[in-house]
Structures are given as structure tokens and as C-alpha cells.
Symmetry: C2
Subunit: 359 residues, 2 copies
């Protein structure tokens, strides 16, 4: 079977071995005579899947016991609201670093809940870089919120801000599990699964237990992180099939050798495409500034619009999928998450060189 050259920004390509493992067990999971999604979420079989997914995340990311690992629904978009609803209490200020459209959306939701403060922003530079200057923290800051990787602009934090004084909250939807991180530097990490973790429909939250105690009981039950922490994310029926697929992706990641190997692979893949851009003598133009470049989303344009249109058209004809840049930025974007095979990246680089030659 020919796998597509899938450069989608998310939902995105998943590991072929994961798909095949799920296929093998599809109709009859572990000889139960049931598909995974037919299992009761209170059954021994499902609870094992659930527990394994949590354990694998703990193991791969070296998550200490002082943190909870939770499974939610609603994607990062619901987290934009849950973070301020839980922690932006009266008299305090939600601090936000603006690095792109998703960070702006997170800020907008916080503004509905309480006071906010923009700690740093690269909006005036069309979000071509992660802000390099000082990150200003307001008085009475409830937390500092950042977006670790910006899919639309192709930028990524290379070094995270460190300020032990206030909780650090990170939207890692598009790069959690793609590189080593030091969990203790954060207080809350959230990620929709559909980039590096699995299918859409499940959100991973990693949260410091100490922070949980600040969340009030007045909240709607399903919007309170404590509900998930107190019930092992089984207060109500979780998205069992999505969590099963997440578990398979985590097993695959562990089998590869964990985050050290994955990070190295991702650096190699990104290097191949950035080299194709940088060695093109201005034929391809990277959107992000070099020191902020993302290893997950390589954004670029061509030296003129007509050629860019031709490039995207011809790429599509050759089977490359999802190379159009986000509608708000235009140009091209190659999303190369964990499951993107090296061979497909090499094929794209080859195509870029070939196209340049003939244009």
C-alpha cells in the first residue's frame, strides 16, 4: 500500500505501525469479542489501556509524581478557557506571551474571565520570531501563558522562560512529545492530540498537584481540573478509542527509543527542509527567523506569487498533501510531526530542488 505524502498541519500523519496494530485488534480486542470502543469504560480491559497511556506519558516525558496526567476533551480551544476559569481569580492577572494566532485566542478567552496582561509579543514582526526581549510580568500575576510551537508561522520556543515566581502554563499542542522538556519548569501543559499524540478528540493535560488546589469548587464540574484529577479522568465516559490510539502512539514512541531519538530525528528532518530553503539562493524564502524556526512546521514562500502558485499546484500533482500555508499567512507549510517518515521529507526536498531547477 502506498502511504500518502501527508504534510497536513493536524490532524496529521500517524505511524503506520500504529495504524496496523489498531487494525489487527479492530474487531476483536484481546480476544474479548469486542472492539475497543465497545468496551465499558469501567471494564478491566479498558482500565488497563487507560492506565498504560498515563504510565507511558509519565515514562516518556519523565513526569514526576508531583504532577497529574489528565485526559480531557474539547481540544486546546477549551483549554484556552479552562486555564483562566480555574486560575485567573479575582484581583489577579493572566500574563500572556503573544507568538501567533493561537496565543491570541488564548488571550481572548482569558479576557472574558478576568484581567490580562501582554508580557511580550512579536505581533508587530508578523510573528516571524519568538520574542527575544524581556518578558515583563505584571503585579499579581496568576500565571504566564505561552504557546510552545506556532503552527501557522512556523516558530518554536528554543528556550523556555524561567520564572519560578509564577506558574508557567504552556500550550504544547503541536510539539509535546517531539523533544525533551523539563516538566518541573512548567506548572500546566496542555495539548490536543492530533499532531504528535494521536487522533483528534482527546486533550492531554499535565498539571502540578499544588496548582490544582487553587481551583474553586464553584466551577462547572467538567471545567474543573480537579474533577479529572480526582477521578483518574474517568468521571464521565472518556473518549476511549482516542485514548487507545494515543496509547499505541506512545508505545511506538517508546519503541523508537524515546524522546532522545525522536528529538534527533525531528532535528534531522527539519534540517533537510531548511537546508533546501537556505541553499536556494532566495528562490525559497523561510517565513520564520532562523533562531525561532520550528522543527514541526516549516513555513516558506517563493520569490514571487505566480511561482508559488505553480509550486503548490505541481506539488499536489506529485502527491504532496497539505503543503498550502494557513489561509491567514499564505505561502507554503510542511508539517513534519513525529510520525512523518524521513523518506517523505527527503522526497519533498528533492521536489523543491527539481522545481527550482526548472523554474
Amino acid at each position: 500500500m502506498n502511504r500518502a505524502l501527508n504534510f497536513n498541519a493536524g490532524p496529521a500523519v500517524l505511524p503506520e505501525t500504529v495504524l496496523k496494530e489498531a487494525e489487527k485488534n479492530w474487531l476483536n480486542f484481546n480476544d474479548t469479542g469486542m472492539a475497543v470502543m465497545e468496551l465499558s469504560h469501567r471494564s478491566k480491559e479498558y482500565e488497563t489501556i487507560h492506565h498504560q497511556a498515563i504510565s507511558l506519558l509519565r515514562n516518556l516525558l519523565s513526569i514526576p509524581d508531583s504532577f497529574e496526567v489528565l485526559f480531557l476533551q474539547g481540544g486546546a480551544s477549551l483549554q484556552f478557557s479552562m486555564v483562566p476559569l480555574n486560575f485567573l481569580t479575582e484581583g489577579r492577572t493572566g500574563n500572556y506571551v503573544l507568538t501567533g494566532a493561537w496565543a491570541e485566542k488564548a488571550l481572548t478567552e482569558a479576557e472574558k474571565v478576568g484581567k490580562t496582561f501582554i508580557s511580550a509579543s512579536s505581533k508587530n514582526q508578523q510573528y516571524k520570531a519568538i520574542p527575544t526581549g524581556n518578558i515583563e510580568i505584571s503585579a499579581d500575576a496568576a500565571y504566564l501563558h505561552i504557546t510552545s510551537n506556532n503552527t501557522i508561522y512556523g516558530t518554536q520556543w528554543q528556550q523556555f522562560p524561567t520564572n519560578a515566581r509564577i506558574p508557567l502554563v504552556a500550550d504544547m499542542s503541536s510539539d509535546l512529545l517531539s523533544r525533551k522538556i523539563h516538566i518541573e519548569d512548567f506548572d500546566l501543559i496542555y495539548a490536543g492530540a492530533q499532531k504528535n499524540l494521536g487522533p483528534s478528540g482527546v486533550t492531554v493535560v499535565i498539571i502540578q498537584k499544588k496548582l490544582l488546589s487553587e481551583s474553586g469548587s464553584h466551577l462547572p464540574t467538567m471545567l474543573n481540573y480537579n474533577t479529572y484529577a480526582n477521578h483518574n479522568s474517568l468521571y464521565n465516559t472518556p473518549p476511549t478509542l482516542a485514548i487507545y490510539l494515543l496509547k499505541l502512539v506512545l508505545e511506538w514512541a517508546k519503541g523508537l527509543g524515546g524522546l532522545t531519538v525522536i528529538e534527533q530525528r525531528n532535528e534531522e528532518k527539519a534540517m533537510i527542509l531548511y537546508d533546501a530553503i537556505d541553499c536556494s539562493e532566495g528562490f525559497y524564502l523561510g517565513h520564520a527567523e532562523k533562531e525561532s524556526r520550528s522543527k514541526m512546521n516549516v513555513t516558506f514562500n517563493l520569490h514571487n506569487e505566480e511561482t508559488a502558485t505553480n509550486f503548490l499546484h505541481q506539488a499536489k500533482e506529485e502527491g504532496f498533501i497539505g503543503l498550502n500555508g494557513h489561509r491567514s499567512v499564505g505561502g507554503c507549510r510542511a508539517s513534519i510531526y513525529n510520525a512523518m517518515p524521513m523518506e517523505h521529507v527527503l522526497q519533498l526536498a528533492e521536489f523543491m530542488k527539481k522545481f527550482k531547477k526548472s523554474n
Copy 2:
């Protein structure tokens, strides 16, 4: 392959043909070289799936154009909060009929938002029946909320309350698509998918367009029904795989002959089990009063506790899954949603007769 005798209350048995259809397309959906969950939610292929799921729901349930069909996440539990957050405005009262634990949870969430009123309740009768008396409506009622089928107690509304004066909101998580309903009698219907509709992880909401205008813009974006209505449930990444599986279940339902056929099958299946109870001369005791009996969840006990334990033990040995009653009620429960094959119901009735004979 032997399919399990799966009487789980939900997640529950799904149609075998649906599982096989999904399996066939698992690795390579429509010759795209991608699995469904690898498709971009902005792609033509996924948009077709999304549109078909909505169309099939409209068609099967005869949903008029004056209603929106929305896909959300978070299950019925999140709807318990979204209904009051959207419609329980200052000075108005959320009216609730209590018919079981889920209705109580819905009420609890509304109490966090505003004023509430219990319009009727069968709590004093251990929820053995749907309240038969008058449904009292408070002054300034925002809506009347009911739970159409009560999985734990095995009761089901046979005739819905009609009061055109105030909006009728129904949690139909466990019986939407199991019988004919007249959509125009309702203003908002919601249902977690994991009983009759598909896997867990997607919630169907059917809402009158007129009602949508009452919802305020102050709400968190993901908790405002208008967000979903204005973006065709594609504001953020939807749970694409779950919606695809929902679509397959809806195609299966249509292929069976739609709700007329499905309702008749469900009545026949329920009759077989209720007959086994009623003809047992008191060996089996139905929990619900006859006129309130659910066609989805048949709840019963045995004449003494020891025999009940033996029954559940022996049933398990013979391969029957999920027959334990909910932990809050005890006894036995056979959940027989749309996808439960008639043969499995007959096998259970046969087992009940055999067990009675030898005890």
C-alpha cells in the same frame, strides 16, 4: 469470529457491519493513502464525511431546517453545564424533572449557574417510574429539562411533556435514534454518542435556531452553542474519527429501514426480556414500573440476593457481559441498544429461563 454477548450500558455494542466497513477503510480511506483520522478536518474528504453525518441525522430524525445539528465534545456531562450557561439567564429559573441520577447531575450543574425549580420528581419512589402527575412550571421559567431514558433505573418517557410556552430540553443520550420522536416538540436535544450513535467522544446537539439567539457572547467560545452553529461544528478540530464512525452507524440505521423499523426491533427485543421477567412467577423482579419501562435498559433483580449473585456469576461464565446493575442500584441490567442483535437477546432470555429452572 464470535462476537461477545455485550450488554454494556455504554460504551456499548456497535453494529458488526459498521466495524467491518471501518476496518476495510482503516489504512486507506477512499484511496487517499490516509486513515480517516489522518485527514485534515479542512479537507474535501473529511468535509464530505461531516456533511453526510449531519444529513443522515436530519433525514433519519426528520429534523426541519429551523433546527441546527451540531457536533460537540465532553459528553452529556458538559451539556449539563452548557444548557444553563447558555439559557439560564438572570432572573429566570431552570425547571428540572428528576427521573434519576443523570437528571440530578444536570440539576446540580444548573444550580451553580442560576435559580432552579424541580418541576416533578420520582426520587421518593426510588426512580422506579417517570413522574405521572402534574409537571409544575415555575414563573419565569427559562426551560424545562428532562432525561428521556434513565439508564440506571431502566425507565423511559413514553409520552413527552408538551408545553409550548417554554423551551423543552431533553437529554436523550441513551435513546436518541432508538425510536421515532417529533423534533418540533423539543427546543434542544443532546446525546453523548456511546449508546446508539457511535463511539464515545462526540456529542450530538439538535437545537432550534430561534433558541440560539438567546445565548450571550460573554460565554467562553467553546461553551457557546453559536460557535458550533456559526462554524458548522468546525470552529476547532472536531473529533473526526468519532464523527466518521457516527456516520457509518447512521448509514447502517438508514439501511435497516430507519426509525420505524428500529423502533419495532427495539420493542420486540425489550418484550422478550420483560416477558422473561413477567412470566417468571416472581423469580425475576423488574425494577421499573411497567408503564415506565425502558426499551433500552432492562433492570431487574432476583428474589433473593444470593441467587442474584449466582445468576450474575453464571451469566458471566456463559459469556454475558455487562449484566451487573449500576453500583448505585445493584441487581441486574441488560442494555439492549439499537446494535444489540436479536439473537443475543434471545440467548439471554433462554439463559434466564434455564437458570430459573435449576434454582
